[in-house]
């Protein structure tokens, strides 16, 4: 496969973005479908090239098809390169990204129909897809960072797509600021690594970390810096607050960016830099701990959310925590000496990326399913839905498949990838294994709570649309249903694909063999228990949701208020510490010290001038006297010193 074809994977969507924004939107805005078809064609092209790349990579030596660097610019002796790699990790990622992106674009044809910003939407989606593909193919941290910011920008633009809604504009801003906080750490780490090793090249950094030339505190600091970027992007605690709010964007955006691809960029980054993380005991422990904690923490907030998209958002955060946990667990296995270098490096990447891979399909499916439900009801509030099962049989069926897959029920995709993570966690961080197990139970519960509230029972009226009449329930158009069916199929079969082996680790459990171990049974049991509990509460109503809420009052309040973390950040950190604290001090310093220095220099100059100008009498005689004295002095000097 020629390099030009590989680079085209990125360039196709970017060209689509340029064509839409420079040609189609200005001149053909009355035919918005053109931009949709341009996007779909470009991304289909990327998908075909990605599949070609995947096939080529599996035949290539060490599963590395190409790794090229081009000279970008040089400043003195510093040469900055940009380059691409196409190895097994990149190949899996490009296939995942382009597949989901293509399906989401097709779905958007129906979902965004009639929206005024149709062309703008597709332009941003193209740019996003291009940046995301670039991100996973970059072989150099600086170049990766460019695309990293590119996807962040698209995320901002698309969350705020309906910018006339104040909540959407606010959510976009919040997403931008919170991720920026993490990105700052990432950028500092990149520069720090460059200062230490003199290279941005990821492969060379791996070698430096594994060989120990880069080690100790420096390595830990760099790894934690990179992880803070990953935390921001992947919504890990404590930078998770933006992701639930990001649901203000259009649903396909949530499906593509805030479930399947961009938010997984953090996990991808840690996976890509895994040798750097695994070489530092502290850093890898932080990854595992944050991952495990985020998994259960986000899941607990998902238990009580009313908005189906927010449930899915918390679920996404929680599942991303799982992936971090998978990476962290294997890394800790390596750090404690249980795993040799070769096994650990591929195993960590394999378990996390396998879950990322399956999660992308079923979570995109769930988001698109919720979008389809909202298409009929006009709301995302589950309390206003209900009984959609009969009106939307296909949406219902696919949503249930997605939920089962997420809950980790054998033999759906989610089961296999989750099992991989649980397996490693059990061996290397037993505490987090049990945390993860409880999360399995919670995941199954909140997903089926969503299923039962949305699709079972009786319809609770939805929400009147802009024209003032409520919607007649109906199944969504074919263009939205077909992506659901494709994704549902993938959500079933994706777990049977040998992704782990492809990534160089033997993680694949045999189809029935996995059931001979106790762990599979326990995790299925936890999942089924969660589903059963949701069934009892929300369908059978054996237990009243209201009475449980009443008896667990403070707990429920804490959960629904998101552990008061938003309040902590906004009221305390932003208002008290920053605006009323730090900024006041900074302003004082600015007015009194910075301005004071400038004004002081001016004042001193004026005063000195006022004194000195008195010497300038304007009397020629005084000048003449000065000249005469000067000459006499010179003559005296000549006599004395010659």
């Amino acid at each position: 496969m020629p390099n030009a074809a590989i680079i085209s994977i990125i360039l196709l969507p970017i060209c689509s973005f340029l064509i839409i924004s420079l040609v189609l939107r200005p001149f053909f805005n009355h035919r918005p479908k053109l931009s949709a078809y341009t996007t779909i064609t470009a991304i289909a092209g990327s998908l075909i090239l990605s599949l070609w790349a995947l096939a080529s990579v599996s035949g290539a030596e060490h599963h590395v098809l190409t790794n090229v660097s081009y000279h970008w610019l040089s400043i003195g002796d510093t040469v900055i390169e940009l380059g691409f790699t196409m190895d097994s990790l990149a190949a899996i990622m490009v296939v995942t990204v382009s597949t989901i992106s293509l399906l989401v674009q097709i779905y958007s044809l129906g979902y965004m129909k009639g929206d005024g910003g149709y062309a703008r939407y597709f332009a941003f989606m193209s740019l996003f897809t291009g940046s995301m593909l670039g991100l996973v193919m970059a072989n150099n941290l600086l170049f990766l960072f460019l695309f990293w910011e590119g996807v962040g920008l698209c995320s901002y633009l698309l969350i705020g797509f309906w910018f006339h809604k104040p909540s959407a504009a606010r959510a976009a801003m919040k997403a931008f600021f919170v991720t920026r906080l993490g990105d700052f750490g990432f950028l500092v780490a990149v520069i720090f690594l460059y200062a230490k090793t003199g290279t941005f090249n990821i492969g060379e950094l791996h070698e430096a970390a594994l060989a120990g030339t880069l080690g100790g505190t420096a390595l830990t600091v760099a790894a934690i810096g990179i992880f803070s970027g990953a935390c921001g992007k992947s919504g890990q605690f404590p930078l998770h607050t933006w992701l639930p709010d990001a649901m203000e964007g259009p649903t396909p955006v949530s499906a593509l960016i805030h479930a399947a691809t961009m938010v997984t960029a953090g996990v991808y980054l840690v996976a890509r830099m895994f040798p750097v993380f695994a070489s530092s005991d502290t850093a890898i422990m932080v990854v595992a701990a944050i991952g495990g904690f985020t998994a259960i923490f986000a899941a607990s907030m998902g238990l009580v959310a009313h908005d189906v998209k927010r449930v899915l958002a918390y679920s996404t955060i929680s599942q991303l925590g799982y992936m971090m946990l998978g990476l962290g667990a294997v890394g800790m296995g390596y750090a404690s000496g249980h795993l040799d270098e070769h096994t650990a490096m591929s195993l960590g990447v394999a378990v996390a990326i396998f879950h990322l891979f399956t999660h992308a399909f079923f979570k995109a499916l769930l988001f698109l399913g919720s979008g389809s439900a909202s298409h009929a009801t006009g709301t995302f509030d589950m309390m206003k839905m209900g009984g959609l099962r009969k009106a939307q049989p296909i949406t219902y069926a696919t949503f249930v498949i997605g939920s089962l897959s997420l809950a980790g029920i054998w033999p759906l995709a989610g089961f296999w990838s989750k099992e991989g993570i649980l397996h490693e966690a059990y061996h290397y961080v037993p505490v987090l294994f049990w945390v993860a197990m409880i999360t399995v139970f919670m995941t199954a519960f909140y997903m089926f709570r969503a299923v039962f509230l949305t699709f079972h029972g009786t319809y609770r009226g939805g929400e009147a649309d802009n024209h003032g009449h409520s919607h007649g329930l109906h199944e969504s158009p074919k263009v939205m249903i077909i992506p659901l069916i494709v994704l549902a199929t993938l959500a079933v079969v994706a777990g049977w694909l040998p992704v782990g082996n492809f990534l160089g680790a033997h993680t694949h459990f045999s189809f029935f063999g996995v059931l001979s171990g106790w762990m599979a049974w326990v995790s299925i049991l936890f999942g089924v228990a969660g589903i059963a509990l949701a069934y009892l509460i929300y369908v059978r109503k054996w237990l009243s949701a209201d009475s449980i809420r009443a008896s667990l009052g403070p707990v429920h309040t804490t959960l629904i208020r998101k552990y008061f973390i938003d309040e902590l950040y906004e009221r305390f950190i932003v208002m008290r510490v920053l605006i009323n604290g730090l900024f006041v001090i900074l302003q004082w310093i600015d007015t009194h010290i910075v301005d004071g220095v400038v004004n002081g220099v001016a004042a001193v100059t004026i005063r000195t001038g006022g004194v000195i100008r008195r010497l300038e009498t304007g009397q020629l005689q005084v000048y003449g006297l000065a000249i005469a004295i000067g000459i006499l002095a010179i003559i005296a000097c000549v006599f004395i010193f010659s």
Partner: protein, 101 residues
């Protein structure tokens, strides 16, 4: 006592110093102008003395030139002072402070 070169030079130096002092210390613009003339003439004496000492006639010729130029200069200088006096009603050089800060 024979009068030698050095006597002329001492005389020239004394006259020059008197002129310089007057030019720098006096307030009356006319006196200043006169003192400048004294300095010029001190230089003339020195020049004539040197010319005689090295026995070239050019020095004495130059002195005549200087005296002619000095006469022209005094004419211009006095004209200026009269004009200023008409404007400012004073010949005190310290009062000529129009360009001062």
């Amino acid at each position: 006592m024979s009068v030698g070169l050095e006597h002329y030079l001492v005389l020239a130096a004394i006259l020059f110093s008197i002129g310089l002092y007057g030019a720098l210390a006096k307030r009356n613009a006319i006196v200043i102008l006169m003192c400048i003339e004294i300095m010029l003439n001190a230089v003339n004496i020195a020049m004539v003395a040197f010319a005689h000492y090295v026995n070239v006639i050019a020095g004495q010729v130059f002195t005549i030139f200087i005296m002619v130029v000095a006469a022209a200069e005094v004419a211009v200088g006095l004209a200026l002072i009269i004009t200023i006096f008409r404007n400012r009603k004073t010949v005190d050089a310290e009062k000529y402070d129009l360009m001062k800060w």
